[in-house]
Amino acid sequence: MKLTKTLMATTALTVAASMVSADGHMANEMTIVSWGGAYSASQKGAYHDPYAEANGVNIINDDSSAEAVAKLRAMSEAGNVTWDVVDVVAADAIRLCDEGLAMEIDADTMLADAPDGTKASEDFGDLLVSDCFIPQIVYSTTFGYRTDLVGDTAPTSVCAVFDTEAYPGKRALEKRPINNMEWALLCDGVAKSEVYDVLGTEAGQNQALAKLDTIKDDVIWWSAGADTPQLLADGEVIMGSTYNGRLFAAIEEQKQPIAMLWDAQVFDLDGWIIPTGLSPERQARALDYIMFATDTQRLADQAQYISYGPARKSSAPLVGKHKTLGIDMAPHMPTDPENAKNTFLYNYEFWADYRDDIDAKFQAWLAK
């Protein structure tokens, strides 16, 4: 009798112990979803490896961020969420929050303070664009051009994209209205502060499409971020938009004859969300990871691997040199004052409303 009881108790203990880690209430395995490639590698170096080493946690990587919103919705409907922390762009975080698929985060209690004691909410500032979103990096969508194919005068303004006389040749633009419509209006004489007011009207949308129409035959439309660097390297296009980190890799790592335009670069954010519907152990682990991975030092560490700016103000001074190239990273950050002379901030509220409407018009225009 006694033996049976002891056996049962031991079994129960073993089962319990295998489900939670030594400190009692946290899962010891977690799945982190991100974009793959160089970006995931930078997160592995700056966050995953140090965290796993310090906590004995097994981290599984899943490169599904591009379809994160749809997959999370499907998982949530099936009642089986297998992801613990998900890396998404801010616009997706807003939608996940709207759909109730991401948990709300209280920055001051759930995230680490800056080293000087500044509260997290203040350190991140207005980059906390959604209640569910923990910003990680500031990236920008900007233009790169082939230094050897643009003639004697290198372009200095984003409007060079629309000037096919001064810069004949193909351009690469993303196959979606976001950013392209803004640039079109900017180069059609609309003041920066009024771009979204104009774009909210029927006439404004037509104006932007009319401007894009002037270069339609000279555009190759891309849908993956890696397309533009490839098209530039092959000489298929003379200039093209993409994420600044992709251009950095082409310029500094692959030594291609490409230069950054930076003018009217559009700032956007990428960061973490934690899905709703996790078990308490897994949620505790996810929160613990987030607290670790978004502190001032870690965010600065990520910039050693990739040229995206840390989202905390307090991280900026800590940005150092590239891990393997050994070059100073600060001048390659989209937030560097020299690069950020003329910037544009992605308007999340606007695109959450107008995305479907303008996308339908944009695609119909493309197909014409």
């Binding site: 709207d98 109730g100 037509n206 000489g235 018009k361 197909a367």
Partner: protein, 423 residues
């Protein structure tokens, strides 16, 4: 033969009528057969039929509106939108009560995204109102009409209320209307404004291009299948490996390889310029258009055409051709009158495979199709993974399924499905 005699029904050895006892034995047998296939049946039901039916049913489901705003929908039922006046206080009060519950459950933003598909601006209206309405008490703070309009001016816009009223049914035809470039309005179905019409065009383009791809697969595949079927075993094996090798290569690799081949600084253009056929300034545009899609997809789908053709041709004895020739037929007559008719079932099977596969393709058109070479499936993918408008994606998918079934039916009527052989 009759189952009854003059004395009554035929009786089995145990005294029951033979008919019944036979039926019982047969039933047992049928049941046993059913049990044998049960695992497969359940598997197919669970993993195939059920998910597809579930997905397709989203094309008409619309219970989110009435579930989130039950009282508002009831009150709005009494509101006559055609007067052009705002609903009365009862609607606003009901709305405040519904929202209090919805905000607690965080469902209001989901409804906002749903209604934003119908009316741009609803998404932020619900999100912003939710934030401010949290502070309102649904009973003590009455009346609400002015307060709500102050919170967001959209609540003072008749159009917004019309949208909620129009889309308050549990089932909706809205997604299907959207899928054919129309929309549901308070005054019944209407066409979308012209600058938003794209889907019908894409359906048409998908069908036409799939037919062209099927046609080019037949043209390219037939001689290869012939060669395969009529060579010695050794040569045939080698050729078969050449056919299958690309088949085993990753789809993305093959598509990207076409990019390298076809782009303006690609292999083909470089060669053409080098031998002087094409001037350097006028390099051919072979990719990011319909031509690129047709070339890449023909290449990718070719094995699906060759293999059924090959296995049908293998069963055609070569002696038939020799017999025809010995009876005085020319090469061409022997082929066209004797060989070709027997190989038609292979062409039919290959065509059905290639056509149905190409109608649902989206990765290759996305990569090499540019703006004019994309298919309807690219829009379905967009609505599934980007816009999250699964209702519209389901409606588009349902229409595509019906079109394919209709074409299959037409094929059966014209050619006859019995004439299709995979080997």
């Amino acid at each position: 033969m009759s189952d009854s005699t003059a004395d009554g029904p035929v009786i089995a050895a145990d005294g029951t009528p033979l008919k019944r006892s036979l039926a019982r034995a047969m039933r047992r047998q049928k049941l046993r057969a059913l049990l044998l296939v049960a695992p497969l049946l359940i598997f197919v039901l669970l993993t195939f039929i059920f998910p597809i039916a579930n997905m397709l049913s989203r094309s008409v489901q619309n219970d989110i509106v009435v579930n989130t705003l039950p009282e508002t929908v009831r009150e709005l039922g009494r509101w006559d939108a055609s007067t052009g006046e705002l609903p009365d206080e009862a609607v606003y009060a009901a709305f405040a009560r519904d929202m209090a519950v919805a905000i607690e459950a965080k469902r209001h933003t989901r409804l906002g995204s749903r209604l934003n598909y119908e009316k741009t601006g609803m998404s932020s209206m619900f999100r912003q109102s939710g934030r401010k309405m949290k502070k309102l008490d649904p009973i003590a703070d009455a009346p609400f009409k002015e307060k709500l309009i102050k919170i967001h001016k959209g609540w003072g816009d008749v159009e917004m209320w019309k949208v909620i009223q129009t889309h308050s049914g549990i089932y909706t035809s809205g997604y299907f209307l959207n899928a054919i470039d129309a929309q549901k309005t308070p005054d019944g179905p209407a066409w979308q404004p012209e600058e938003k019409q794209i889907l019908l065009k894409l359906f048409g383009r998908t069908l036409v291009m799939s037919l062209i791809i099927t046609g080019s697969c037949i043209l390219l595949g037939y001689p290869i299948a012939w060669l395969l079927a009529n060579s010695s075993a050794r040569t045939a094996n080698l050729l078969l490996i050449l056919v299958l090798l690309p088949f085993w290569t990753s789809l993305l690799v093959r598509t990207s390889a076409w990019k390298v081949m076809l782009q303006q600084n690609g292999v083909i253009n470089e060669v053409l310029v080098w031998i002087g056929l094409v001037p350097d300034a006028e390099r051919l545009i072979l990719i990011n258009n319909q031509f690129g899609t047709i070339v890449a997809m023909t290449h990718i789908l070719l094995p699906f055409m060759i293999l059924p053709m090959y296995s049908v041709m293998q069963t055609i004895p070569q002696t038939y051709l020799r017999a025809a020739k010995s009876l005085g037929a020319t090469n061409w007559t022997a082929f066209w009158r004797v060989y070709f008719p027997q190989s038609v079932p292979g062409i039919g099977a290959g065509s059905i495979l290639v056509f149905i596969l190409s109608i649902g393709y989206y990765i290759t058109p996305e990569i090499v199709g540019g703006t004019k070479g994309v298919f309807i499936s690219n829009r379905i993918a967009y609505h599934i993974s980007s816009s999250l408008n699964w209702g519209l994606a389901a409606a588009l998918g349902t229409i595509l399924l019906i079109v394919v079934l209709a074409l299959y039916w037409a094929y059966d009527k014209i050619v006859g499905i019995d004439n299709v052989k995979l080997g």
